[in-house]
């Protein structure tokens, strides 16, 4: 289970008698901070209490109370439970001071809260829309915002049930499409907003010139359709010759309104949607979401199910890292041959997923309090064969063939360095954080499920360059295989589900934050329940998204050709970045 997010020795209320109160709503935890005290409290948390890692920022719209709430989850990189603090503001005047100066890792998260929730973060240097485009009408995650295909607030929609009178949404919508325009909108007079805001923000950089030559700087866009951006990702950059002087990632090209859908679905209906977040590692996503809801429901998971969960989560890590390594080598020019080897092994893991869950990629395998079904006969033998025989040999082989390659080394060693301080500052997570020398792994730092029973090392590398971010994935595959080896030996017989499997779970009111060490880093689910069959708020802390915060600073000063190498070494998946 997830440990309670409250440090026992911490007394924030005594330290700040004015402006901080404990959150005493039923099922809630943490502290409520007055908006004008926020920066001061956050600074103290970082400098005095040691919460140096602000992992997640979520906005919640409590429309009945006419207020918006911003929820912050902070942790210590030396490990231990976290701390939750919140700020409440009126819906009409949603202004919260930005924490950019204290925790620069909030950059994209605050922009996301502005974009989707309409919370104005005062003092944020570049508060633009991030997932939607500039000029979009409204803030869609506000509870009173309705889309063109709107049917009802929550599922299952009465109109389709129980008779199932299904109709196509297009038939009802104006313009027969999923679009709507404000009342006063006149397309003939309207001038598109364009991308001035982006280029304006991009042009804010210090122009250091030590050559004495005055040269023009040029603006270049890479993507959203580009083979090295791992999907529909775009990079806008300004170059001085070949050197990058300013770089901004542009995302949202795969924004699929995951959270709005999540708040309309019932709890269980969200499980298959989590598969489609980081679509390479659906089992880990299931894991994180199941943990959050189980924490709310306060239920235990049977032994056997815990073991299967761990085996599947680690298998996911193995296949994700194989894919990441293959694609990264693609990016730096070893086109497709290394990937073919990596994908060949990954297919074997996918076979296991298919056997246990019925699908290669979209597993939808976890349930609250257990699993969808037990391991079918023979699958454990397959897993053993992979974990003890095939994969260790193959990983060693790849390592031997690839890691000492001259070209790989000269392109990666010492390039795109992210220091340990910067990694923490920008809230980088997962392999990216550990390759910079911070041994922070949630499986050890704040253990969930049964990870405390296994003997494994937290992979860590110290240079923080592209090469370390590549090689650490090899290390992690080996550690994951160690965990799987122990788990398949120890796995007991028994039930795989607490109680009866249910389509409709009862979730008491309250909030919970469940987090797992996903293959890409800390994957967190912040769920608020109001006791109804659907989550009131459902927010995902997406590691691919937040890891990109450091991308711009890391690339500044590098040559343009290194950008794809840096991006490949971060290992993003757009489904999760844009949600």
């Amino acid at each position: 289970m997830v440990t309670p997010a409250q440090a026992p020795t911490l007394d924030l209320v005594t330290r700040f008698p004015e402006g901080v109160v404990a959150d005493e709503r039923e099922g809630y935890e943490g502290y409520l901070v007055a908006a004008d005290k926020l920066v001061e409290v956050a600074t103290a948390l970082r400098d005095e209490f040691g919460f140096d890692y602000l992992s997640s920022v979520s906005g919640v719209d409590y429309i009945a109370e006419e207020m918006l709430e911003v929820v912050y989850h902070a942790y210590k990189t030396i490990g231990g439970p976290g701390l939750v603090f919140k700020v409440q503001v009126a819906r009409k005047k949603a202004e919260v001071p930005s924490l950019m100066d204290v925790y620069p890792g909030v950059d994209f998260q605050e922009r996301e809260a502005w974009d989707l929730m309409g919370i104005n973060f005062l003092g944020h240097p570049d508060l633009r829309r991030i997932l939607l485009w500039e000029g979009f009408e409204g803030h869609p995650l506000r509870k009173d915002w309705k889309e063109a295909y709107y049917e009802a607030d929550v599922k299952p929609f009465k109109s389709r049930w129980p008779e199932g009178n299904f109709f196509r949404s297009e038939e009802k919508a104006t313009y027969q499409a999923n679009v709507q325009y404000p009342d006063k909108f006149d397309p003939e007079k309207w001038v598109p907003e364009g991308e001035d805001a982006l280029y304006g923000a991009l042009a804010k950089y210090e122009d250091v010139d030590n050559t004495g030559l005055k040269t023009d700087h040029i603006t270049i866009n890479l993507g959203p359709q580009h083979p090295s951006t791992h999907g529909v990702f775009r990079i806008a950059t300004i170059l001085d010759g070949e050197t990058i002087v300013s770089l901004k990632p542009v995302m949202g090209y795969l924004h699929r309104n995951h959270e709005k859908i999540g708040e309309r679905n019932t709890y269980l209906q969200n499980m298959p949607f989590t598969d489609r977040l980081d679509y390479l590692s659906s089992m880990s996503n299931n894991f994180g979401y199941a943990l959050a809801v189980e924490k709310l429901m306060n239920i235990e998971v049977p032994e056997r199910a815990e073991y299967i969960r761990v085996i599947m989560a680690e298998m996911t890590r193995v296949q994700n890292h194989l894919f990441a390594i293959g694609m990264f080598l693609n990016d730096i020019g070893a086109f497709f041959t290394p990937s073919l080897y990596a994908i060949e092994e990954r297919e074997l893991v996918l076979d296991i997923f298919e056997i246990v869950s019925g699908s290669r990629m979209m597993c939808n395998y976890f349930r609250f309090g257990g699993l969808a079904r037990d391991l079918p006969a023979g699958s454990l033998e397959m897993i053993k064969g992979l974990a003890f025989e095939r994969l260790p040999r193959r990983v060693d082989e790849m390592d031997r063939f690839l890691s000492d390659n001259e070209i790989l080394r000269s392109r990666c060693v010492g390039q795109g360095v992210l220091s340990a301080e910067d990694a923490i500052k920008y809230a980088a997570a997962g392999p990216m954080l550990r390759a910079s020398g911070v041994p922070y792994d949630i499986r050890r730092a704040d253990p969930y499920s049964i990870y405390d029973r296994f003997d494994f090392d937290v992979a860590v590398r110290y240079n923080g360059d592209i090469y370390d971010r590549y090689i650490i994935r090899m290390d992690e595959i080996r550690q994951s295989l160690r965990i799987i080896q122990q788990a398949v030996e120890q796995i007991p017989e028994g039930p795989i589900q607490t109680g009866k499997p249910q389509y409709q779970v009862r979730v008491p009111a309250g909030e919970a934050y469940g987090r797992v060490e996903g293959p890409k880093g800390e994957l967190g689910f912040y769920v608020v329940s109001d006791g109804k069959p659907n989550p009131y708020r459902y927010h995902v802390r997406a590691p691919s998204f937040i890891n990109l915060t450091a991308f711009g600073p890391m690339c500044t000063g590098l040559k343009i050709a290194d950008v794809v190498a840096v991006l490949g070494s971060i290992d993003i998946v757009l489904g999760e970045t844009d949600r």
Partner: protein, 205 residues
């Protein structure tokens, strides 16, 4: 297409030149050449793209059908494999890419999202199917379609190519082929064909 289909002349070829002479129709040889070397646009949108990559890799290997030459530039591509969710923000780019592809060109909608919006259809930022933007030749169901399903879809595309006749195909007709109008990102996605209707609605309001 079997070799014997390509070379079924209906004429007697003398025995001594049978090994070196073929008699066939223009349509057959033209289509046989095109269907055996469809170059896809290297372009992945979402989860389905991962299955597309797996299909390109060694286990399923769609180079068996002459499709392994993925082109990053639309100018060199014959087929756009729309592998994933089409979002509004991406819609102008997709149409622009389509317009940049030279004829003959084909579009395959891979998966539920590209075919009709899929699990995300109701959302505010998703286009319910790529056929709202550009014409689609083959739809492949699945979420994601397995590599087998994808290959089946691609074979369907080859069958479609087999039926085309050089006299009737659109790219050999007189006149210019019109480009697809690019939708605009406004307060919401604006399809250019809707602009008069939107203006009228404003006047009535």
């Amino acid at each position: 297409m079997e070799n014997k289909d390509l070379n079924s002349p209906g004429y007697e070829i003398p025995d001594d030149i049978k090994g070196s002479v073929s008699i066939t129709s223009i349509d057959r040889i033209y289509n046989w050449g095109r269907r055996s070397s469809i170059w896809p646009l290297m372009f992945g949108l979402a989860c389905c793209a991962i299955e597309m990559i797996c299909t390109a890799a060694s286990r399923y290997d769609f180079s068996r059908f002459g499709m392994e030459v993925m082109r990053p530039s639309p100018r060199q591509a014959d087929m756009m494999l729309v592998s994933g969710t089409v979002t509004k923000k991406m819609a102008p780019t997709i149409v622009r890419l389509y317009n940049q592809m030279p004829e003959p060109k084909y579009v395959v909608a891979m998966g539920a999202c590209a075919s009709g919006g899929g699990p995300f259809k109701e959302g505010y930022s998703v286009v319910s199917g790529v056929d709202k933007l550009i014409p689609v030749d083959v739809y492949i169901p699945g979420c994601p379609p397995t590599p087998q399903a994808l290959i089946n879809g691609l074979i369907k595309l080859q069958e479609l190519i087999d039926t085309q006749s050089i006299k009737k195909v659109r790219w050999y007709q007189k006149g210019e082929l019109a480009a697809v109008p690019i939708p605009i990102l406004g307060p919401d996605l604006i399809y250019q064909r809707d602009i008069p209707a939107i203006s009228d609605a404003k006047k009535e309001a």
